[in-house]
Structure formats: C-alpha cells, structure tokens
C-alpha cells in the first residue's frame, strides 16, 4: 500500500526532509555517481553502434555488400553483431547494478537508523 496522504502539514514537511536527508547521504551520492558512470557511456556507445548500421547500409552500400564469409556479406554480420553487443551491454549492466543495489541497501539502513533515532 502507498503511504496515505497525510493531512497534517507538519508531518508532510517532516517527510520531505527525510527525502532531503537521503539525498545528502554519501552513499546516495555514490549511488547516483556510479549509475551515471555506467549508464551514460553505455547509452552513448549502444546508440552510436546501432545507428552506425543503418548509416553504413544507407550510405556505404558497396562496402557493406562485400562478402567476407562465403556468401555472407559485411552488412549481415554487422546486423548480427548488434544482437551480441546488446546482450553484452545487458550483461555488463546487470553486473554493475549489483553495486547500485549495495549502495541502495546502505542508504535504506542509514535511513532506518535515522528514523529509529527519531530525529
């Protein structure tokens, strides 16, 4: 169940301050930084790698039609490689996400600590 909307404005203010506190925690900042450090380069890489395919197919057809493995040409192998690259990035992300989860757990524990202390 969601936390019910609290009609007491003081309680609401207190709740906002909890979010602010979490936002100030070192572990939360590390979590955001770790996420950025993986997600931004990975996204740029897969977007560039993906659009390289339609761009090279569209604008360099002669090169892409070169046969390099029996009857199979570069265009087809490049397309197949997209699947492997997508799976690889997904695997790397899942591995990196273990660290995000660990930071997230520390944040929750720190928060429980604060709430238990009642301040």
């Amino acid at each position: 169940m969601p936390a019910p909307a609290n009609p007491d404005p003081r309680a609401a203010r207190q709740e906002i301050s909890v979010w602010d506190r979490v936002a100030q925690m070192d572990d939360f900042k590390k979590l955001l930084a770790a996420r950025k450090a993986f997600v931004i380069p990975a996204t740029i890489f897969f977007v560039v790698y993906y659009f390289a395919l339609p761009i090279s197919v569209g604008y360099f057809p002669a090169f892409m039609q070169r046969k390099i493995w029996g009857p199979v040409n570069i265009a087809y192998l490049f397309a197949l490689s997209q699947f492997l690259v997508a799976w690889l990035i997904a695997y790397l992300y899942v591995r990196a996400a273990r660290r995000f989860d660990a930071y997230g757990e520390t944040v929750s524990k720190d928060l429980e600590h604060i709430v238990a202390k009642g301040n």
Partner: protein, 536 residues
C-alpha cells in the same frame, strides 16, 4: 482446416480457464491492475517479450524478410537493441516511482491534472492505434487461416474482440499476463521448430542456406523473372530517401519502445525494481533469440516457398504459415496458425488493459475524482467499462476499415508517438530538475501532433497508386507525399524534445516541483517508498 479450428478452440478453452482462475484473484485494485505485483522476473520477462512479439513481428517480419530480405531484418535488429533503453534508463525508475500507469511517474512532481490528461491521451492514442492495426490484421488473418470454414472477416474480428474483452474485463492483469506467457512460450517453440525444419531442409549447412539466400528467384509484376541476393540491403529502402527512412525507423524503435505504454505497465506487475531489471534481461534473451530466428523463417520462406507462391496465397503476412505448410504439412500449418492466432489475442488483450487502466486511473480517479475513489472498487469498475468501450470501438473501426485496408502505418504511428511524445517527457521528469508542467504538456502535445501530422502527409497516407490496386487497399490521399519518409521519427522526436524544453524554459520555474524532484530522484534510485507486492 479442421485441425486449425480445433487448435484455435483449444487455445480459447485454455485461456478462458485461466481467465476464470484469475477472476477469483482479481478482487482488489492492485490485483486487477498490477497482478498483485507478484509476477516473477522470468514470468514478466516472458510476458514483456510476448507483448512485444506481436503478430506484426511474427508474421510481418517473416513476411518482410521473405519479400525484401536484408531490409526486413533491419527491423529485427532495432526491436532488440531498443530494450537497452528500457533496461538502462526507464524500467527501474518507473517501477520505483509509479503505481499503475506511465503518467504516475510524469505527474509525480508536476501539476497532476494537466500532465495526466495529456499522458493519458497519448497512452490511449498509442494503444488504440496499435490495436486497430492488430485487429484488422487479425480479422484478415483468421479468415485466411480458417479459409473454407465459412468464418468471415467480420466474424473473426468480432470473435477476437469479444475474447480480448472477456480476458481483460474478468481476468484483469493476472489473466492478461498468463495469456501472454503461454502465447510467448508457444511462439518461441513454434519458431524454434520452424527454424530447425528450415535448416534440416538445407542439410544443416549454413553454407547451403546462405548460398540459396543469395539467389532468390521471383517474378516482377510485369512478368520478368529476377534473381536477387537477399543478403543485400536496399531491396525495400531505395534511394533517394531509403537511407533516411531506415535511420528514422531506427530512431522510432530505439526511443519508442521505452515509451510504449503496454510495455511499461508490465513493470508494475513485479515486486521491485531489481525484479524489473532481471525481467528486462529475460525479455532480451527471448526477443533477441526470436528475432535472430526470423532470419530462418523469412529467408526460409523466400527460398523454399518462394515469393511468387506467397504473393498468390495470401500475401507476405502468410509467409511463416505457408513455410510451415511446405515443411511440415497441414498439421504443422495448423499449429503455426494457432500460434499466430494466440499471438494476436494476447497482444490485443495487453493493449486493451493498458488503455482502460490509463482511463480509469489517470482520467477517472485522478482527474475527475481528484485522486480519491468515491466508492471502494470504483476505479476497477470504471476500468472494466472502459475496456468494454475501447474493445467495442476497435471492433467497429476494424470492421469499417475492412480486411484489405492499409494499416501498417498505424504501428509506425504508435512507435513514433511513443518516441516523440512519451519518451522525452519520461526522461526529463526523471533527470531534469528544472522541468515543469508546461514543459510536460508542451512536449507531449508537440510529439503527439508532429507524429500524427507527419504520418498523415507522408507516403503511408499520401501516395498515387497504380490503377490496378484494389479500391480498399488504395492510399487515402491520391497525391504525392509532402513529407518523404514513412517513419516520421527523425523529425518528430526532435520536435517532442524541443517542445518539452521550450515549454519549460519559457514558463516560470516550478519551485515546489523542483523540491519534489529530490524526492522523486531518491525514490526512483533507491525504491524507498515504492509500491510493495501484495502478500497472500
């Protein structure tokens, strides 16, 4: 023919059984809209894959590859890579910060009513367009698959429509999810079998297979025979605009998938963000495997059945079933046909529940009722009525359009709207502190409008047909297209982003909203305060 019918009926019986079982478990709002958030990672992964691998992919892609070779395969590539956007950027924050719909995340720190109204309009537009495309396809296909049994297009559309309404109205998200899971497993099984038979046909030699693919024989409409290398790009996307159209298609797929409402709602059915993450990985394994196998289906149909034969026997959508017939006889044809039928039913059910949930949760409860149900269970009741209405409207439109209507552009439109309207606003809500309500409304409106207008003045609607095209299959406006690309993404996606940015910068900063941005950021990244799974 009777085998096909028996298999169809068997699938209907099983899914109705599931619906009856699910109906007993759909007694609460969270169970009806989000399957109690107790779906596991692999189950949700299979369901996401199932929602995605529509009849358009199974029959459509196989057909495109059978007719145009490599260019058809380009769709397959984009459809998998698109899931990286879902995995890296959207799935986890959405699960952490939302409840039932995409709009939950968008409305979180903005003024909820205008944002929800636009987000819901976009969701319902995407879902119904997508659904009408599937229904017209479904009707034509079912009539074709059951040819000789006396089932007409209209009967088929009404039948499919009624079944999907029953699943959604009585079984809610639990039934919809399990129908999707069963269908996805059937679809993968059928595709593996078919690919195996294709390779067996070539003596399990990739060399022989690809050699055949480089020499595909068929006849042009004027009767001349041609031999084409189907591994060569450019059979469909030709100069002068082919390359741009391919890039534009890629943009719509890569950025649109993460904005497809019927995919996004799936992440509310799992217990937490971590499960959502693993479910995307499961989906990527299945979707990737499936789309690689579309090579065998499409190239197999091109080489073993032949383009000429397929064109005379139902057109490119029949490529996969006809391939099954050629390789495994009528029993296998019946099996593959039943899978296609299951696929259609499951996907339209997924779309119906998405549209009706958005209406009930966003429009009714949050806009009309200001966020509070007046009577317990009201939201669910409204959703059931909405499902019925959405279903009835789709049935009516599909029947009016008729079996030969040219509706493929509706799928392109759905992806374009998802990429141009939904994704910019989702991204800015999660990542841009300054983003405000005006920006969200402007972004959604600009993306939605740009997609619709560009499709309308593009070659899908405006084309001069040659005189021998059947009246119902003719393009709506017999005029040279004003916008040259079939896929508007290349222009409409920047318009959506610019709309959201300008709307934000030209209006006053929303200080309360920026304060809540911190809260959203914490919730989205940690899962603190996220909706929990419902205990037994």
């Amino acid at each position: 023919m009777t085998t096909t019918l028996v298999l169809f009926l068997a699938f209907i019986a099983i899914t109705l059984g599931i619906t009856a079982w699910a109906a007993k478990r759909s007694g609460s709002t969270a169970s009806y809209f989000a399957a109690n958030r107790r779906i596991s990672a692999w189950q949700n992964g299979v369901a996401v894959a199932g929602d995605y691998m529509s009849a358009a992919s199974f029959l459509g892609i196989a057909g495109l590859i059978a007719f145009f070779g490599y260019d058809g395969f380009m769709y397959s590539v984009g459809w998998l890579v698109a899931y990286l956007t879902v995995l890296l950027i959207v799935a986890e924050p959405l699960r952490n910060a939302g409840k039932y719909t995409m709009a939950d995340v968008l409305a979180y720190r903005l003024h909820p009513r205008p944002v929800r109204a636009m987000a819901s309009l976009s969701t319902i537009t995407v879902s119904t367009f997508y659904m009408i495309a599937q229904m017209v396809g479904a009707g034509a296909l079912v009539a074709l698959l059951l040819k000789g049994s006396g089932i007409s297009f209209t009967t088929a559309v009404v039948g499919v429509g009624l079944l999907m309404i029953v699943y959604v109205v009585f079984g809610g998200m639990i039934a919809t999810t399990w129908v999707q899971i069963i269908k996805a497993i059937l679809l993968i099984t059928g595709t593996i079998l078919l690919s195996f038979l294709v390779m067996a046909h070539f003596g399990f030699s990739f060399g022989a297979f690809f050699s055949a693919v480089t020499q595909v024989h068929y006849h042009l409409p004027d009767g001349t025979e041609v031999v084409k290398d189907f591994l060569t790009p450019g059979l469909r996307y030709k100069p002068p605009y082919g390359a741009l159209d391919l890039i534009s298609l890629g943009m719509a797929l890569i950025f649109g998938t993460a904005g497809l409402p019927h995919i996004l709602v799936r992440f509310y059915t799992v217990p937490d963000a971590k499960t959502a993450r693993f479910s995307v990985v499961w989906a990527m394994v299945l979707i990737g495997g499936f789309y690689i196998m579309t090579t065998f289906l499409g190239f197999g149909a091109a080489t073993i059945v032949g383009r000429d034969y397929i064109a005379k026997n139902g057109g490119n959508n029949m490529s996969a079933p006809l391939l099954a017939n050629a390789l495994g006889g009528s029993i296998f044809f019946a099996f593959i046909s039943a899978i296609a039928f299951a696929t259609i039913l499951a996907v339209v059910a997924g779309l119906t529940i998405t549209a009706s949930t958005s209406f009930a949760h966003d429009v009714w409860t949050n806009i009309i009722r200001h966020g509070q149900e007046h009577n317990p269970g009201e939201e669910r009741r409204v959703a059931r009525i909405a499902a019925f209405v959405v279903g009835a409207i789709s049935i009516a439109i599909a029947i009016v359009l008729g079996p030969t209507a040219n509706v493929a552009f509706l799928v392109a439109l759905a992806f374009a709207v998802a990429a141009s309207a939904n994704l910019p606003v989702i991204l800015f809500s999660i990542f841009w502190r300054r983003f405000n309500t005006t920006g969200a409304v402007m972004g959604l409106a600009a993306g939605l409008l740009a997609s619709i207008v560009l499709i309308f003045i593009g070659p899908s609607i405006m084309t001069v047909d040659s005189p021998n095209v059947a009246p119902a299959a003719r393009h709506m406006i017999q005029h040279a297209p004003i916008f040259p690309l079939e896929n508007p993404g290349m222009l409409s996606i920047p318009i959506g982003f610019i709309g959201a940015i300008l709307g934000t910068l030209l209006s006053k900063p929303d200080l309360a909203g920026e304060e809540k941005f911190v809260e959203l950021q914490v919730r989205a990244n940690t899962g603190l305060g996220a909706e929990k799974a419902v205990a037994h």
